[in-house]
């Protein structure tokens, strides 16, 4: 469990970080909290001759809520999400999700940007970003660009971010209505067997908007538009929930792993989504 040797860089601004990336191309990578990257390096599954630590880049930090938009710097830690009053108010689903990521030790180091940029289907924030319809901002040699989170994930560990780009921040509209992040895992510190993010708004006694996304049930996070649509206009009754679950099941493609076979995962995905919808509805 010892990584191959590497050069270590610790720039204090984005331009300097980009310069190292540009110079070493494929041989360079940024490191944020290191809680996905370092294990891969130790297993020698990732070979990173030039490692660029973003810890000192102040511009990548900070949580801001202004004009109904929540903006989170890539280097904000998962622990900061939990302690932030702004997040608790403007996006309580994120507070709830962050509490279910890994364990406290991991969350003190692990960052929002790392969790999103990593591209591991097991990460919780990518699914949440689908649900929130977030915008991801990256910067590279050709300047800054925005990518919709729903367009970001291409395959496991493959994203729309170019190798020479750095994710700087994520932004999304402050949420309203009911919310739930429901996750089944084997133990504290485990990735999801199945997880569901649900946002609902209510008008009278019917669902006016619904956004649903699933985690670790395909090789990319799954935004299930149809599942949301199945709830819209309904009174969130048993039939509507069943329809939403059925629609979601069309969109996921889980793999068998140590958490269980496909059949089990599909069943649990349905249960978890029903519970998430129920909880979100109770809060709407």
């Amino acid at each position: 469990m010892i990584p191959a040797s590497f050069e270590y860089y610790r720039p204090d601004n984005i331009a300097a970080a980009l310069a190292v990336l540009e110079e070493h191309g494929d041989d360079a990578r940024v490191i944020a909290g290191g809680h996905s990257l370092i294990p891969m390096m130790k297993l020698r599954m990732a070979d990173v001759p030039h490692l660029i630590d973003l810890q000192d880049v102040k511009d990548l930090r900070g949580i801001k809520v202004a004009g109904g938009t929540v903006t989170i710097g890539a280097m904000v830690t998962q622990a900061e999400l939990i302690s932030s009053q702004d997040i608790a108010q403007a996006a309580p689903i994120m507070h709830e999700a962050a509490l279910q990521i890994a364990d406290p030790q991991v969350r003190y180091m692990g960052t929002v940007g790392g969790n999103i940029a990593n591209g591991d289907p097991g990460n919780d924030l990518p699914g949440l970003m689908q649900c929130l319809d977030a915008t991801l901002t990256v910067v590279g040699p050709n300047g800054e660009r925005d990518i919709a989170a729903r367009e970001f994930y291409e395959a496991a560990y493959m994203t729309a971010r170019e190798d020479d780009e750095i994710l700087t921040k994520v932004s999304f509209a402050a949420t309203e209505g009911g919310y739930a992040y429901e996750k089944q895992k084997r133990k504290i510190g485990d990735y999801a067997t199945a997880a569901a993010s649900v946002l609902l708004t209510k008008e009278g006694s019917t669902v006016s908007t619904a956004s649903i996304a699933m985690t670790n049930l395909s090789d990319v996070p799954v935004f299930s538009e149809e599942a949301g649509a199945a709830l819209q206009g309904s009174s969130c009754d048993t039939d509507a929930v069943k329809a939403a679950v059925a629609a979601m099941l069309e969109d996921i493609e889980p793999n068998e792993d140590n958490r269980g076979p496909v059949e089990f995962k599909r069943h649990v995905a349905g249960v978890i989504l029903s519970r998430a919808i129920e909880r979100a509805w109770s809060r709407a």
Binding site: M1, I2, A4, S5, R44, D103, Q184, R186, K187, I188, G189, D190, Y191, T193, N258, R259, G260, P261, E263, F264, H267, V268, V271, I272
Partner: protein, 805 residues
């Protein structure tokens, strides 16, 4: 005597002797990060070793090219089997009478097997060099199933003569290791044939791993000037390691010093001898400087000793009323690539023959077939005394299955079959003499403590509510009554590699009345430094706080067989008491001389000898110690010390009653343990707090094993669970609250009546958790499902029973 003299009770309390919840003296250093583990040892000029390991479970090694690795700056040597062969160290004997490759000799037999040993200036260079060793493999068919292994044409162990007997008798197939049989097969089968009721079931106890917090490692230092080899390592049996090292290397035993420093958990994983130890020794001999080898977590899980992997096929017969009449068991034991179990020589399946459990079963038969497969070797006693966990799980499942067959309450079925108090010492059908027990009292206390009848009522209501669709959670009540056999053991039938399983203690009283005691055992977290001092305190009246306990250095400690199988208290604890009594006897003579009375006219009183009938005339142990060294006493040698080697007359038989109450979510397979009650009877209780700590730890390991922990392989022999992401170690979050309780039935043959407790919670805990899961589904027709009861397996059970609608 004056008013300042403390009274008897106060003097007793000051000793912190047996029965005192004395705080663990070890914890000050462990909780402050000041322990001294193998990896903390750093010697001048020390080199670091690392293994090239096989990615394949079965393959021929066509060639090994070390050139690129040797060319890396800082690499000192790369050892392969060829280098070890001239020393006859490319293979080594296992503790089970088999042999094991130290480095791949022509082929590899399991994934993670040691192929080459790189020695480099630092740990990082060693790891880089491992990547540079080029090994050419030719894949061979892989066998991961022991049943298929016995039918396969693929011969795993080409080194063995297929027609020759193994260490434990004839082999019926090249992949067969032994058949071990106990009991009366014919008589048992006759009883089964005639019985009113026979319950038959296959109980699989899956492969798991002790996974101590600290993995295995060693530092070998060969001093070529004085010819002495010092070996530091994670050894649960340092003296045995010294003897084996001497026999293997030809270095005379007095020139070998083995040191077990602090050990971060063993649980059986650190009993055996591993290729890493051998390679660090050879590398130090070759290079002339110290060589360290410390494995990482994945290496620990993939290559060092696993536990269990027993397929137990059982039949149990009873009368209509539920009186058990016979027990039959055939076990297929998957030993992996080499038979590297660590059992007493005459017991290739350990003490599996304790499988009649706590019940008065007139006739029984046990047969165990050991089989080779392409999996890591091991089969060690993971927090148990040589397959006692397997035996307890087997009988406690069979009892539940029989209860289903009889349509009886499982608590009642146990009660009517328990060995009765007045039957002890009890001779079991499979040949053991149970020393003492009072099962009915313990069982009644346990059932009352949890309000058993109330639980059953609630459970019945829950089943009805479930059927009405009002809940998706079932409730299980997991019962277990276990009897262990620990404290191996009597030298007449227990040895390891020919070394009798006695143990030892040497006590030296210093002139000022404090003491040091050394034992042949070695704590890996059991708290010996705390509890053994308490035994001495009570035996000879010196405060436990004034006694240092030292273990693990073979140059200073008396010879002993080490710590595993709950043997430390039953064997070394007995030696401690006996050594204390020798000191007390001499102290009595000294006291009598000082008090100017006859030896018989003084009596021991807590911390002193006093003249009989005149308690104001006394000499404290402190006075006596001083006199022992500084006063010429006619006919008495100076000094006050003693050593005792204790050969136990019998094993001890701790027992207990555990009850687990669990809610099971049939839709997600998740569980919630509402209540766990553990009553232990370990005989005399030395330190209730240490006992409670051991019970909590053991129950948590049992929880892990029953509910998720496993070493699993795919068809290709790839280990699927080699990291802690997949190998379940519970955190505080998953761990339930435990209620502990006890009864006290001392062992009649042990000097202080103590039986050992460290392993009881694992032995009894696993069936308690597992039975709770099974019991939850009993109303829906479940008889048997396999551990670990992780989410998907529980879900599958529910699904197979049609509970998902």
């Amino acid at each position: 005597m004056n008013d300042m003299t403390p009274d008897r009770e106060e003097r007793k309390a000051n000793l912190k002797g047996m029965g005192c919840a004395r705080k663990r003296v070890e914890d000050a250093r462990f909780t402050q990060g000041k322990g001294n583990y193998v990896d903390d040892i750093s010697l001048p000029g020390m080199l670091h070793g690392d293994f090239v390991r096989s990615p394949y479970a079965h393959a021929r090694v066509k060639s090994i090219n070390i050139d690129a690795a040797m060319a890396l700056d800082g690499v000192v040597a790369v050892l392969t089997a060829k280098d070890l062969e001239p020393l006859s160290l490319h293979w080594m004997p296992t503790l089970a009478g088999d042999k094991q490759m130290v480095l791949a000799d022509g082929k590899v037999l399991f994934q993670g097997q040691e192929v080459a040993f790189v020695v480099a200036k630092d740990r990082y260079i060693a790891a880089d060099a491992v990547e540079l060793v080029e090994v050419e493999y030719e894949e061979l068919p892989v066998i991961v199933d022991p049943f298929k292994s016995l039918e396969s044409d693929v011969v795993l162990r080409e080194d063995l003569d297929p027609s020759a007997d193994g260490a434990h008798g004839p082999r019926k197939h090249p992949n067969h290791i032994f058949l071990w049989e106990v009991g009366d097969k014919g008589a048992t089968e006759a009883v089964l044939d005639e019985a009113d009721v026979v319950a038959e079931e296959t109980v699989y106890y899956h492969r798991t791993h002790p996974c101590p917090l600290e993995p295995c490692g060693s530092v070998a230092s060969m001093d070529k000037v004085n010819g002495k080899l010092t070996l530091y390592g994670t050894f649960q049996a340092p003296h045995v390691v010294r003897t084996v090292a001497s026999l293997l290397s030809g270095i005379e035993e007095h020139n070998i010093r083995v040191v077990s420093p602090d050990i971060g958990g063993g649980f059986g994983n650190k009993v055996g001898v591993y290729p890493g130890y051998v390679c660090s020794i050879v590398a130090s001999i070759v290079t002339g400087v110290p060589v360290k080898w410390v494995e990482d977590r994945m290496e620990n899980l993939m290559s060092t000793a696993f536990a269990r992997d027993y397929h137990m096929h059982g039949k149990i017969s009873a009368t209509k009323e539920g009186k058990i009449t016979g027990l039959w068991c055939h076990t297929t034991a998957d030993h992996g690539a080499f038979d590297a179990c660590a059992d007493p020589t005459k017991y290739p399946a350990g003490f599996m023959s304790i499988c009649t459990g706590s019940y008065d079963i007139p006739v029984a038969y046990l047969g165990v077939d050991g089989v080779y497969t392409n999996k890591a070797p091991g089969g060690v006693a993971y927090r148990c005394s040589f397959r006692v966990t397997e035996a307890a799980y087997f009988i406690e499942r069979m009892i539940e299955v029989l209860a289903i067959e009889l349509n009886m309450d499982a608590a009642e079925l146990r009660r009517i079959n328990f060995i009765k108090k007045d039957q002890f010492p009890y001779n079991s059908a499979l040949g053991w003499e149970y020393d003492s027990g009072d099962y009915h009292t313990a069982w009644d206390k346990a059932l009352e403590a949890v309000d058993y009848d109330g639980l059953r009522k609630e459970q019945a209501e829950r089943v009805e509510a479930f059927k009405r669709g009002e809940t998706r959670k079932l409730m299980g009540v997991g019962l277990t009554f276990f009897t262990e056999i620990v404290g191996a053991g009597p030298v007449k039938n227990c040895d390891i590699l020919g070394m009798g399983m006695f143990d030892s203690c040497e006590i030296r009283i210093h002139p000022t009345g404090s003491a040091i005691a050394r034992l042949g055992t070695i704590s890996q977290g059991q708290g010996h430094a705390t509890t053994f001092a308490q035994i001495i305190a009570s035996e000879i009246g010196i405060p436990a706080d004034s006694i240092t306990i030292e273990e693990g250095d073979t140059d200073t400690a008396p010879y002993g067989l080490g710590t595993y199988g709950s043997r430390s208290t039953p064997v070394a604890g007995a030696a401690t008491a006996m050594a204390g009594r020798k000191i007390k006897a001499k102290a009595q003579m000294i006291a009598a001389y000082l008090l100017e009375v006859h030896d018989d006219d003084v009596e021991f009183d807590v911390d002193r000898f006093a003249v009989k009938g005149a308690p104001e005339r006394f000499k404290t142990m402190k006075d006596i110690a001083y006199a022992a060294y500084n006063q010429a006493i006619p006919g008495v040698e100076p000094g006050l010390e003693a050593v005792s080697y204790y050969d136990p007359p019998n094993m001890t038989y701790p027992f207990g009653a555990y009850i687990c109450v669990m809610d099971v979510d049939v839709d997600t397979g998740t569980t919630d343990i509402r209540q766990f009650y553990a009553l232990d009877d370990c005989g005399t209780r030395i330190n209730p707090m240490v006992i409670e700590g051991q019970v909590h730890g053991g129950l948590t390991e049992a929880l892990a094993i029953a509910m998720g922990q496993e070493i699993a392989y795919d068809e290709m022999g790839n280990c699927k669970t080699a990291t802690l992401m997949d190998f379940f170690i519970p955190t505080a979050w998953e761990t339930p609250h435990y209620t502990t309780d006890h009864t006290t039935t001392p062992s009649p043959h042990h000097p202080i009546g103590a039986k050992g407790v460290g392993e009881s919670p694992n032995v009894g805990g696993v069936p308690a958790f597992s039975n709770a899961v099974h019991d939850a589904f009993r109303a829906f027709g479940l008889r048997q499902s396999h551990m670990p009861h992780d989410h998907w397996r529980i879900w599958k059970t529910a699904n197979d029973l049609g509970l998902h609608g």
